[in-house]
Structure formats: structure tokens, C-alpha cells
């Protein structure tokens, strides 16, 4: 089962790379055929804006190229999100069906014990912070809160993981270029962050991904757990951001990089509920509704 999924993942990555290179060779074909009459940059813009301009020379190639770009922009995008929504919903339903409300908690104790324990923590803090200034009290509470979360338990991996996941969520949704495409089709757009900031977040994300990769290779405890799938999934997540960075800075052929970026990104979106990326919905539960050393706001299950 493990090897089958590895093969599927490897196949999708190979397909994305192949379709990217196919688009590249076709773009190069169109470019060389048109450059006899006009200069190269004009040919590129003509090829991307007006498919009819070069169809007589390379009808099949042009059809394939336009098809791939449009397919990635339209149906494949919708398909990816439909797969994502279906799988995501199924995971949440399954998770909730497997859990019960936590029976532990103050409410199960006798009234006497409940009264004895209520307010103890705030009284303790009041005792420990007596004589401090307002700012000192705030800092004390902040430090106490941080110490009890993942940042206190494992600061380095906590911060790197936070940078990685912030980039993962903010950049794709708040990128100006994505929102232009989005508002074109839906007349609705999210607030955007400046391009250079998105660029920095992407670099941070790629650096964090590199850290995770090195950690997986050199930390014995992580290495013992790692399988081919773990490396593939890390590369798969980093790939849309690496290609986005290349497209933003016009490294290699722009259109090839862009088509690869779109297809790899759609593969990642569709793969989220069916792979280890499916830990996404559990973030909310584990960080805010369970008591744990890694929680941000300890609580108990109520569903």
C-alpha cells in the first residue's frame, strides 16, 4: 500500500515535470517559427495573447499548449478544489465520529473540589506578580503562556514550523497576482499583501522546508521514521513555491515555469486530504481544543 501511493506521487510529479517541459518545447517552437517575421519578445507576446497567429505552422503543438494552460486555469483548478473539499469533509466527519466528549474536567468533580480549585491559577499568578508593574505582569503572563505551548517545549522547531505554515497559508491566498485572477472570474477578491513581502515569505518557507529536509536526513529519530513518502510530500509541498519564486523572478522560461507551478499547485491541493497533508484539519482541534504540551490554548473536547 505504501509503495503504491509512492508510485502515484512519483507519477504525478513526473507528469507535472513532463507537462511543464512539453509546454516549454512548444513555446520554443512557436517562438522560433514566429521570430522570422518579427522580433522574439513580440513573438512571445503574440503567441500568448493570440493563438490564431501561429496555428497554421504548428496546429497540433499550439492546440496542446493552449489546452494545457487553459485546463490548468479552469477545469483542473475546479477539480482540485472539489477533491479537496470532499476529502477534507470526509476526514472531519470521520474524526468527529471517532471521538467522544472528554469526561475529565472540573465538572466531574464533587462541588467541594470544584470550589477548592476554581480561581486557583489566577490567585497564584496574582501572588507571584505582586508588586510588579502592569507591563511586568503582562510579560509574566505572556512568558508563562509561551512556556506552556510548543514554543516552550521545542522553540526551534516551533518557530520554523510557524514560519513554514504561515507562508503556506498567507502567500497563496493573499498574493496580488492570485487575487487578480480570482477577481476576474468571481468579481471578488481577498485583501492582498505586497509582492515583495510575499517574496520574503516564500523564501522563508523554502528555507524552512530545507530545514525540515535536513532534519529528516540528519536527526536519527526522524530518520528512523522517514519513508520515501515523507521526502516526496515535502518536495511536493515546496515545489509550487519554488516554481512561484522562479516565475516571479523570471528564472528559466516564464510560461513553462508558470504551467508547472499551476499543475503542481493543483496536485498539492487535491492531495491534501488523501496524504499526510491531511493533518491540516487536526491543527484546529489539537491546538485549541485539546490539553497538550503542544496546544496554544489548552481546552477539553466538547463534541
Amino acid at each position: 500500500m505504501t509503495s503504491r501511493i509512492s508510485w502515484i506521487l512519483a507519477g504525478t510529479i513526473a507528469f507535472a515535470l513532463f507537462s511543464g517541459t512539453a509546454a516549454y518545447s512548444q513555446a520554443a517552437d512557436a517562438n522560433s517559427s514566429a521570430s522570422e517575421a518579427v522580433s522574439a519578445p513580440a513573438a512571445v507576446s503574440a503567441a500568448s495573447s493570440n493563438p490564431a497567429a501561429h496555428t497554421p505552422a504548428h496546429p497540433r503543438a499550439a492546440f496542446l499548449r493552449i489546452d494545457l494552460y487553459d485546463a490548468a486555469l479552469g477545469p483542473l483548478f475546479v477539480l482540485a478544489w472539489v477533491l479537496f473539499a470532499a476529502g477534507f469533509t470526509r476526514r472531519i466527519v470521520l474524526f468527529r465520529s471517532l471521538t467522544r466528549p472528554a469526561r475529565a474536567g472540573l465538572s466531574v468533580l464533587p462541588a467541594r473540589s470544584q470550589n477548592a480549585s476554581s480561581g486557583t491559577v489566577s490567585e497564584d499568578i496574582a501572588f507571584l506578580t505582586r508588586g510588579m508593574s502592569g507591563r511586568g505582569k503582562l510579560l509574566f503572563r505572556l512568558r508563562r503562556w509561551i512556556r506552556r505551548t510548543v514554543f516552550g517545549a521545542r522553540p526551534v522547531i516551533g518557530v520554523v514550523s510557524l514560519v513554514f505554515h504561515i507562508g503556506l497559508f498567507l502567500v497563496p491566498f493573499l498574493l496580488p497576482a492570485h487575487n487578480i485572477l480570482f477577481s476576474r472570474s468571481t468579481h471578488f477578491s481577498l485583501p492582498t499583501i505586497p509582492g515583495p513581502l510575499a517574496d520574503k515569505l516564500t523564501v522563508g518557507l523554502l528555507a524552512a522546508a530545507g530545514f525540515f529536509l535536513l532534519r529528516r536526513i540528519f536527526f536519527p529519530r526522524v530518520r528512523a521514521l522517514s519513508t520515501v513518502r515523507d521526502y516526496l510530500i515535502l518536495l511536493l509541498v515546496a515545489a509550487p513555491f519554488a516554481t512561484a519564486y522562479m516565475a516571479y523572478h523570471h528564472v528559466l522560461d516564464y510560461r513553462t515555469v508558470l504551467v508547472t507551478h499551476m499543475i503542481v499547485g493543483e496536485i498539492v491541493i487535491a492531495a491534501i486530504p488523501f496524504t499526510k497533508l491531511g493533518h491540516m484539519p487536526f491543527f484546529i482541534y489539537a491546538r485549541f481544543f485539546m490539553s497538550s504540551e503542544y496546544a496554544w490554548r489548552p481546552g477539553s473536547r466538547r463534541w
Binding site: A224, K276, M290, Y294
Partner: protein, 130 residues
């Protein structure tokens, strides 16, 4: 793969144990990102000076994970390995924590249940067993 030595009846009993928890096992094994952040929560891991096979997720993946993937068709030596992981390297103290909330003790308890059906378990009759 080494030959299995489990008759059909035992396999059926093992799979009844596993199937009763199959959604939990599948969801947990799929959601585990192999981050090894659970390592330090295990006192066996700390006491052994960082023995990687004492990492809670390693124990879960290599006990119930193997039984789950092979539907219990494992050789005697492999069951012996699982016995070591599920009994000798884990005391089910339930103090391990997972950053995404997987219940690792539930997984190891399921592995123990499946092993007992096979007759592989901790024996208290001999003095030296650990």
C-alpha cells in the same frame, strides 16, 4: 518476506480486533507526519538515552502499522519484534503527546490486542523476560 506461521482462524481473530478499530488506525496512520516531536514525551526514550525505536510514533507505526498493512500476515520473528515494541518499550503510561493530537496509546493498545490473539504477549512466568 519470511514465511508466516499463522493459521486462518488466528488471522481472522487478529483482523476482528484490527477491523473494530480500523477507522481510528487508518486515520491515525495517515495523519502522522513522522515529525518525531513525540520522542521527548516518552520516558523510555529519555531513559534509553535517545533510542530511536522508543519514539512513540516509531512504536505505533512499527507495531499496529505493520499488522494493519499486512492484515496480520507476519512471521514469528516479526511478531516477536512487535512484542518488544508494544510491551518492553512501552508501558502504556499515556503520557506521550502528539502535535496533531493522535492518540498513540490507543494504537499501541490495539497492537497489543492483536498480538494477544496470536499468543504473543508479555509472559510473567519467567523471571527474565525484559
Amino acid at each position: 518476506m519470511s514465511p508466516t506461521n499463522t493459521d486462518a482462524k488466528t488471522l481472522a481473530r487478529i483482523n476482528r480486533i484490527v477491523d473494530a478499530r480500523k477507522d481510528m488506525i487508518r486515520l491515525s496512520l495517515q495523519a502522522c507526519v513522522h515529525c518525531a516531536l513525540c520522542a521527548e514525551s516518552c520516558f523510555k526514550f529519555r531513559e534509553s538515552g535517545g533510542d530511536v525505536t522508543c519514539t512513540p510514533s516509531y512504536k505505533a507505526i512499527n507495531s499496529i502499522g505493520r499488522i494493519w498493512r499486512t492484515r496480520g500476515r507476519l512471521s514469528d520473528e516479526e511478531y516477536e519484534d512487535i512484542r518488544e515494541l508494544a510491551w518492553d518499550k512501552c508501558v502504556l503510561c499515556m503520557r506521550c503527546y502528539c502535535p496533531i493530537g493522535i492518540s498513540i496509546p490507543s494504537l499501541i493498545a490495539a497492537a497489543r490486542g492483536a498480538c494477544r490473539e496470536k499468543g504473543v504477549m508479555r509472559s510473567y512466568s519467567t523471571a527474565r523476560n525484559a
